[in-house]
């Protein structure tokens, strides 16, 4: 089964518009994180939302989490050309007896293109 599947796979918008990306997962999680990756570069952590949280904000980012639907969304408001990147959700689940910083399971990502 796939964990952390994003949609859409690609999103193209104009500068100033809002961008919404969705992520679905299948198993129970401890937290869900969103990362950005510029082409051919490393992963940059954007925001983390815990399983007992429903919404979180960070600057122009808003993340929601619906554990009943096993889904999350990332909203980028007032997008800029510099926001052009791939965006990944990643879920973290505790293993029984495991550490609180377990592995992350990533989705396929959404490629966001913001046109100036």
């Amino acid at each position: 089964s796939q964990q952390g599947e994003e949609d859409p796979q690609a999103l193209s918008i104009q500068e100033g518009e809002n961008a919404t990306m969705n992520c679905s997962y299948k198993t129970s999680i401890n937290n869900l994180q969103w990362y950005r990756q510029n082409s051919g570069r490393g992963l940059v952590h954007l925001i983390l939302i815990r399983s007992n949280e429903r919404e979180k904000h960070s600057g122009r980012l808003r993340v929601t989490l619906d554990t009943s639907k096993k889904s999350s969304s990332l909203l980028i408001t007032a997008s800029r050309a510099a926001d052009t990147a791939s965006y990944f959700c990643a879920t973290a689940s505790f293993r029984a007896g495991g550490t609180s910083y377990g592995k992350l399971t990533f989705g396929q990502g959404t490629i966001l293109t913001v046109h100036p």
Binding site: G40, G42, H45, F88, Y101
Partner: protein
């Protein structure tokens, strides 16, 4: 200044050769991970390392792979006999350092692009 760097940034090797990828943390970290990303695909977990031993590994992490922290600082991933399908970006990730509000941040390195010919 980045929390973690990786060397080399790009490694080209012949099939069957051994490669060692290095992760160089800037400060003290507790948890170390390796992930890989085959071109155009999602990031996949390989292994986690805590307290100088492997705490979890994926099915990808077979006997051809090994990790160690030989000098207590650098964290290495060794692939003994590379295959064509090992071509990917390999990311090191770290958790640790100073806790902020009871939580430690996770940092990813810039990655090593491995090309197996």
């Amino acid at each position: 200044e980045p929390e973690v760097t990786q060397t080399p940034s790009h490694q080209v090797t012949q099939m069957g050769q051994e490669v060692i990828l290095r992760c160089v943390p800037i400060s003290n970290h507790l948890y170390f991970y390796w992930y890989r990303q085959i071109l155009g695909q999602k990031v996949e977990f390989l292994v986690s390392f805590y307290n100088n031993e492997i705490s979890e590994k994926s099915e990808i992490f077979d006997d051809q792979f090994s990790v160690e922290r030989p000098d207590g600082s650098n964290f290495t991933l060794k692939i003994r006999s590379t295959k064509l399908e090992d071509s990917a970006m390999y990311f090191c990730a770290l958790v640790g350092g100073a806790a902020k509000g009871g939580r430690r941040d996770r940092y990813f390195g810039p990655g090593t692009r491995l090309t197996v010919l």
